[in-house]
């Protein structure tokens, strides 16, 4: 019987199976073996006498590491990389004498981490593409739908539902830019030796510096990297991790704002996140429909934003060529950050795609605030008809407050009638006052801004993200 174990909820509840596979022990073992294979192949090609059957031996055992056998070695040796080398040596005896030749542990650990980080960035860009596509759809569909804009979470002027969606899209688009920048510049560690000086490879190639550099290039190319770090100590600079997690944390910022906005709007009854027909909101309050997906989005986003402290401090606390300050912290933080980002983007896409715009509520809320929106224009009409600006302002203020008090008591909106009956507005035609209540006159260039933003910014970005497209089998576990 295996004893009860702790499992991270990021694995059991939130992150996709693809993201989990990237950070799995099995994948790491497979990558280490591919790195040893690429190293041996490149060394052989450059004249190191490694027999073909040694290489064939590694190639035949890329994905069949027995992690239990590795653990037995590790308990004895207290060294994870050597444990893997011994186990592979058992499976491929012909390769055993040539494995890891000239390399240091960080050859496999750091390079494999960079491959996983790169692939995680790629997967996140695929997820982000879905979020952006969903928000694009939302923006276009509701580009002309006037809605109350809020500053200080108090009704301000109007905007449109679609225009507001572009605000969320723009935040996520900035994150996509950051991720693309990180990916474009992400280097491989390559073959640099124990303190980064390549001394062991200089020995291996009898002082032939050109071959040492060519080895570095070839192994990097085998994994699709065009650049290796120009210099490093034992490890690649941990600032690389920090910059990646910074880019991921940006997703947390955007996810949090999107999630919070949705929760506010669900409170107003204007936008509802998607819900299953049998979903229960509360065990005791059966009527409740809670914005639980948006709440989870916020919770995961906050976790991700907070994680970046770790990578910043890890970069800050490395000593000289390396210390082990990074190891345990990176083991936790890098996968957690990747999985939190994955989970929040799956949620954001799900919400963005399924969000329900309650048009009647949106319109009712607009109608309720319209008279107050119109006061500035009514003021101008009264002044144009000969009124004194300061006196009219006081008249409007007095009636506004009274009308709002009456509405709070449950009476119908009355500001227009109150003003029309006031002597200050005697010379203004009521029809002209009423004409100012048309919401479309208060949305400025919202609609055009939506179409311009989509055409000039969002669509080109979505095109750039096409190579990262995922097949979208990842769903939300609610």
């Amino acid at each position: 019987m295996t004893p009860p174990r702790y499992e991270s909820p990021l694995g059991t509840r939130y992150a996709s199976s693809v993201m989990q596979a990237l950070w799995s022990a099995e994948h790491r073992a497979g990558l280490w073996r591919r790195l040893w294979l690429a190293l041996a192949e490149a060394e052989r090609a450059l004249g190191v006498p490694i027999p073909e059957d040694a290489i064939a031996g590694i190639r035949a055992h890329l994905d069949d590491a027995d992690l239990a056998a590795v653990r037995v070695y590790e308990q004895r040796l207290r060294h994870d990389v050597m444990a893997h080398i011994h186990h592979l040596g058992d499976q491929a005896p012909a390769a055993r004498p040539y494995l890891h030749l000239g390399a240091t542990s960080c050859f496999v650990t750091d390079n494999a981490d960079l491959i996983v980080l790169r692939d995680a960035c790629g997967l996140l860009l695929g997820r982000l593409r879905r979020v952006l596509a969903a928000l694009r759809e939302l923006a276009i569909t509701h580009a002309d739908q006037p809605t109350v804009a809020y500053t200080h979470f108090q009704p301000a002027l109007l905007t449109t539902v679609g225009k507001r969606a572009t605000l969320w899209a723009f935040d996520f688009a900035l994150d996509a830019d950051a991720l693309l920048r990180v990916l474009e510049r992400l280097p491989f560690r390559g073959c640099k030796g124990a303190t980064g000086t390549q001394a062991s490879f200089v020995e291996l190639f009898h002082g032939d510096a050109a071959k040492v550099r060519e080895l570095d290039r070839r192994v990097a190319a085998a994994f699709g990297f065009t650049e290796t770090v120009p210099v490093c100590g034992q490890t690649y600079s941990r600032k690389v991790d920090a910059q990646i997690v910074d880019a991921w944390a940006g997703l947390g910022q955007s996810g949090s704002k999107f999630g919070n906005d949705l929760r506010l709007l669900q409170h107003e009854g204007e936008l509802l996140e998607p819900a299953e027909s049998a979903q229960v909101g509360s065990s005791v309050m059966p009527y409740k429909r809670n914005p639980m997906r948006a709440e989870r989005l916020c919770a995961l986003s906050r976790y991700l934003v907070a994680l970046r402290e770790n990578t910043a401090y890890t970069a800050a606390t490395q000593w000289l060529e390396r210390t082990l300050d990074d190891s345990a912290n990176r083991r936790l933080v890098l996968p957690d950050a990747a999985m939190a980002a994955d989970a929040l983007l799956i949620l954001a896409a799900d919400i963005g795609r399924g969000v329900e715009v309650r048009q009647s509520t949106v319109e009712r809320n607009v109608t309720r605030v319209m008279p107050y929106m119109a006061t500035e224009r009514w003021l101008l009409l009264a002044v144009a008809a000969g009124g004194d600006r300061q006196s009219v302002h006081e008249v409007i203020r007095r009636h506004s407050w009274a009308a709002r008090d009456a509405e709070d008591r449950g009476e119908p909106p009355s500001l227009l009638d109150r003003l029309a009956a006031d002597p200050a507005f005697a010379k203004v035609d009521v029809a002209r006052l009423r004409a100012e209540l048309e919401p479309a006159r208060y949305i400025g260039r919202s609609s055009s801004q939506v179409h311009e933003y989509v055409a000039e910014h969002l669509d080109p970005l979505l095109e750039r993200l096409t190579p990262f497209a995922t097949s979208d089998s990842a769903g939300v576990t609610v």
Binding site: S17, D119, T470, S471
Partner: protein, 305 residues
């Protein structure tokens, strides 16, 4: 035009590189089949890959494996990129090569015969009938014309040739190769699979004139449908609205390509042997459109982007 893949290069042990497909090993129990975008016509692989062709072939197979599951279970595990990467994360860096072209399958021991079913008289079967009045060695009624619909679909096995053409054989010969009971089992399965596929395709305006099935045995001894199934590459697809017996039929998928090549041959610009000539962009595009359309026609859905 989306990116076209001439041949895949994935970080897995390569078992076979076929005319248009690669087969990789995924541990002891699974295989990854990748349909590249290479295209062949008149038995020559052409230099220009056809965008989306590989994805069309793979996703049509995936569709049929699902449709035909009740007739016979198959080796199909998944053809969804995310699900494949979740099981084989080493492929995460190669999503551009997957893009719907790859299928993860259970590994089986294939039976060494190709199980061809013919519902219409075409290709090598027409040649055999015209010359000898038989089909798969069995006598046939006289007076059939090219592309004639057969009263009953005929099981017409072939050997699997490593090089050159597969050779048509008789049912008796197939019994010698795989055993009598097994040969009869594969014949019955083939005829049922063909009938189910033919009826379904007919509702969508496509005639499946003939097709080739392959079967394999699992380590537990179960027979599974394997390889690709009822794709344009393993079958003759004819547009039903243009069907007219008494001549060769236009091909649903490759006709623009064949027309172009036939014209080149006619004016002496290509002798019909490898290497094939470069294809102009409009022929590449037209062929790609035909494949994508074939997917839509057969499945009723657009090929996912």
């Amino acid at each position: 035009m989306p990116f076209a893949l001439a041949e895949s290069r994935l970080p897995l042990p390569l078992l076979r590189r076929g005319k248009v497909r690669e087969v990789y090993e995924v541990g002891p129990d699974a295989l990854l089949l990748v349909a590249s975008d290479r295209v062949s016509a008149f038995d020559v692989v052409l230099p220009n890959p056809i965008p989306r062709k590989g994805a069309v072939l793979t996703q049509i197979s995936a569709f049929w494996f699902g449709e035909l599951r009740d007739v016979l279970p198959s080796h199909f595990l998944t053809a969804d990129d995310d699900e494949i990467i979740a099981r084989v994360p080493a492929l995460a860096s190669h999503r551009d090569q997957l893009s719907g072209r790859a299928m993860l399958c259970r590994r089986t021991t294939p039976f060494p015969i190709e199980c061809v079913v013919r519902g219409y008289l075409s290709g090598s079967a027409w040649a055999e009938y015209r010359d000898r009045g038989t089909l798969a060695g069995e006598p046939m009624p006289r007076g059939l014309v090219e592309s004639a619909r057969l009263d009953r679909p005929i099981f017409s096995p072939a050997t699997k040739a490593d090089v050159g053409h597969d050779e048509n054989i008789t049912l008796d010969h197939a019994r010698d190769i795989v055993g009598a009971d097994r040969a009869d089992q594969l014949r019955d399965a083939s005829l049922k699979l063909y009938a189910a596929g033919r009826d379904r395709a007919a509702t969508r305006g496509i005639i499946i004139a003939d097709t080739k099935f392959e079967f394999g045995k699992t380590s537990e001894g179960t027979t599974l449908l394997i390889d690709e199934v009822l794709t344009p590459d393993s079958s003759r697809f004819w547009p039903a609205d243009q069907y007219a017996p008494g001549r060769g039929q236009p091909s649903f998928d490759k006709q623009p390509l064949r027309d172009y090549l036939a014209d080149l041959k006619k004016v002496g610009k290509w002798n019909g042997s490898a290497p094939g000539p470069d294809l102009p962009p409009e022929v590449v595009r037209a062929t790609s459109d035909r494949y994508v359309d074939a997917y839509r026609r057969i499945t009723g859905h657009d090929l996912p982007a």
